[in-house]
Symmetry: C2
Subunit: 562 residues, 2 copies
Amino acid sequence: MAPSRYVGILALVAGCLLPSGVRALWPIPHTLETGTTALTVSPFFYFDVQVEGAPLDLYEAVSQAQFYLANDKLGRLVVGRGANDTTALVGANTLSTLTLSLMSGATAEPIASEAVKPLGTRSEEYTLTIPADGSAATLVANSTLGLYRGLTTFNQLFYYYGGVTYTLLAPIAITDTPAYPFRGFALDTARNYYPVSDILRTLDAMSWVKINTFHWHITDSQSFPLEVAQYPELAINGAYSPQEVYTPSDVQYIVQYAGARGIDVLLEVDTPGHTSIIAATYPDYVACFDETPWSTYANEPPAGQLRFALPEVVNFTASLLADIASTVPSSYFSTGGDELNVPCYTNDYPTQLQLNSTNTTLNDALNTFTLATHGALIAEGKTPVVWEEMVLDWNITLSNETIVMVWISSEDALAVAERGFRLVQAPSNYFYLDCGAGAWLGDDPTGNSWCDPFKTWSESYTFDPLANLTEAQYELVLGGEQCLWSEQSGPENLDPIVWPRAASSAEIFWSAQQPTGAPLNVTEALPRLQDLRFRMVQRGLKPIPLQPYWCAIRPDACDLTA
Amino acid sequence: MAPSRYVGILALVAGCLLPSGVRALWPIPHTLETGTTALTVSPFFYFDVQVEGAPLDLYEAVSQAQFYLANDKLGRLVVGRGANDTTALVGANTLSTLTLSLMSGATAEPIASEAVKPLGTRSEEYTLTIPADGSAATLVANSTLGLYRGLTTFNQLFYYYGGVTYTLLAPIAITDTPAYPFRGFALDTARNYYPVSDILRTLDAMSWVKINTFHWHITDSQSFPLEVAQYPELAINGAYSPQEVYTPSDVQYIVQYAGARGIDVLLEVDTPGHTSIIAATYPDYVACFDETPWSTYANEPPAGQLRFALPEVVNFTASLLADIASTVPSSYFSTGGDELNVPCYTNDYPTQLQLNSTNTTLNDALNTFTLATHGALIAEGKTPVVWEEMVLDWNITLSNETIVMVWISSEDALAVAERGFRLVQAPSNYFYLDCGAGAWLGDDPTGNSWCDPFKTWSESYTFDPLANLTEAQYELVLGGEQCLWSEQSGPENLDPIVWPRAASSAEIFWSAQQPTGAPLNVTEALPRLQDLRFRMVQRGLKPIPLQPYWCAIRPDACDLTA
């Protein structure tokens, strides 16, 4: 695969000398060939959907692509923003059509259906060809999902100046396919609540960089904003307010909105830790509830964890998780499992009574609990997802299919792989977007963020998904995700703290071909990421500026060694 | 002064037990007495302006206060957000009027005129009394500016629940006066541009915490967005785009808007460093323009500094600064003077030719340049303001009136004071809001922010304005400011990166009575700052969340040692 990838890199290197239209692509396609011919987009440009039985969400995607094509109006990030391109555009050929079609034998399912298929069975690849002579461009894929990815790429190919939408790099030929099947973004909506509109806007941005999983950490110890039909009191007593909830119809709308953008919604209901607020409804189910000092019983306030040794808690949790999981189409569901605090149970009378009377250990009880909760999910057709502690810190039986998320450190992937589990890379030392904002606990003026320092896009971008692993273990790496934990975040800072940084992992897991293609390079990437960022601004997002604008329009001039 | 300040602290300590309405005050007033009586605000409440010849901007301020009183609708930050207060409100007395008046002998000038008087001659003090029996509240001051400050306090006294605006702490008696005359916020609008609307919104927020100086770092090496009537090419060639400029009428509007909110606009046109972009118009006036490696010639790209040794550059700069200064009413103008790079001139032929032919040193030339530029400003009636290097790194003659801003380190205040200059505290190790966001230069994936770590509100809040100084030097400390440098900021993240953090210095310099009153305390302050933050949200600002909402409504529960 390496040689074909080099085609793309070489074209881009040339693009640093030429006026590069393709500088805007993010993630960089698997193969990319470009020419040097100017091509303008016709004011009468249209997308020609030659797909038999095309589903509604494909037409919606085309309509969205048409909107972006007309409204992005992104000037090239050079001094003058494209003013110098106008002479090249005089007499240029005009592109009037992009024809979308499926490969023969492929059937047209809704994008939303393709997006929730099991990992490894989704078809995201596509071929996009734009001739230089003005004849129709073509987009071909094996699925509507592949067509959706291709439309995303198509929208990134064009700049705008003085009323003209154009590329200077026709002909363009792209064949594209992701390096990894799982490319996620995780959002914690429990420490602080995000209105549905913020989530939808985030899903849009995710789709622009081909992220295909919204890992929704929807509940935690602080709040339970998820309305569950069978357990309505959990949100009534556990949401921050009656307005700060996700109703079943909110969830359905978000899932549908995500699916239409090629995104699977992976719900996480973190158990048995991170559940303090459940005590507001079921006080008997929660140990060490709001005990102080909280730091003895939890990593952050408030303390409180499910009494997983009690049979009624096992039944309740299995039922709760299955009920929630049954409402969403994803093949996956996360039961969490991080930061389980043992001292919480040491003096917990109901837990100790149960353990003593049944002559079992805390570990055995956790095993029973996990078998039951995971069993209930598997019965619903879901594959369980857990945080790394469930395999590294505890001795419990998990289905071989279980997916393990590595978060504490990138060093831990090896240990997970050695146990034979498939894994998702979400290491805090590369991918936690909340790091570096200082201490948030009160009375701690000299405290720093526990995962200091702030992870810049480029630090994240240097992450190697296969580091430390043996070649035989490579296939266990499903992909990765960047995460926003919300102790110090909310709708007020969502866009700038996430974007464009979350695009770093999106490119790593789309473009970094395993086992080892050409390594990604921060210097080559920065101008493209700037382009992505400015296109995001054009689309109404509020991504953080990466540099002074002076630097943004002078690629490489602000490199450390320039 | 300490005893009267203790009244306030004690009332607040009691307030942690009682339902505290006054928890919301920020900055905390000089003296504060509260009762335990509920008092509701009448739907027909009005502000009774008993001020002879009241200026228009006082009426505008009253109108704004009326708007906030009706629309803040801030629930108390406790579980239930005030639901438990409703019984106390049954049959409560109703407040119908706040009477505003000036002390006898005081004359009613516009707030905007009072706001630009020389430091030390402005009258910001006021007395606010709210009886418990429903009779008229009174606000008395020596000036319209004092009345404005009092209105700001009045608006922070009330909560809202279920259609009722109320306090539970009547009667309330406040006498208030600032500890320091200069309380600023500095914004760099040159690295990245901010639309006028962003500046206006920021001025509003500044006024809510009684910040009285907008230090506007309006130009820098990267861009020159300021349109100067006598030198139009500077912005034509130096602004990022024709849209990204501050026209003379923009500046007038901003100055007027600020003035009406009790805020003086201190313009900074940084010289002779930080001027690279002037070369786009006057290439002969700039040394080492865009030289590489930039790191030899500047602290950040692009390199380029005024050839201050050349007589024509001295004349140009003096004329430019005087022309700009003459358009604004402030008594102060900053000529910058930070980070002057010597190697820039070492091989600069015009500079060396001039120095050799006149047998002068670079230091002498800087002295001549500064005498001329400051002289021109003094002739315009302005007091010059400079960064600390102008007195610590160079041997130049400055007017005794010159104000020196300490920025490199809080340790440097002593050296400035030892030279006898009045100073403003803007130390990067406490007050730089941009710290902690990682490296922004390209090709530097492992680089951190130069002033790591991120300055939390509480770290900033522990700053002692008088640290290391002798008692005789205390009077030299005019106040201080937090600063946003915009390498990694722009309109997209302005609100969350500035607020509520910039309120920390606002309280230090309003409430920390010198020489040494009761020290400010982060644990006491946090619930009040949370209240301020949530009130800011109610007013449409986007301040960063400081903690999970669970913590915000449970004061002290998320303290480090809780």
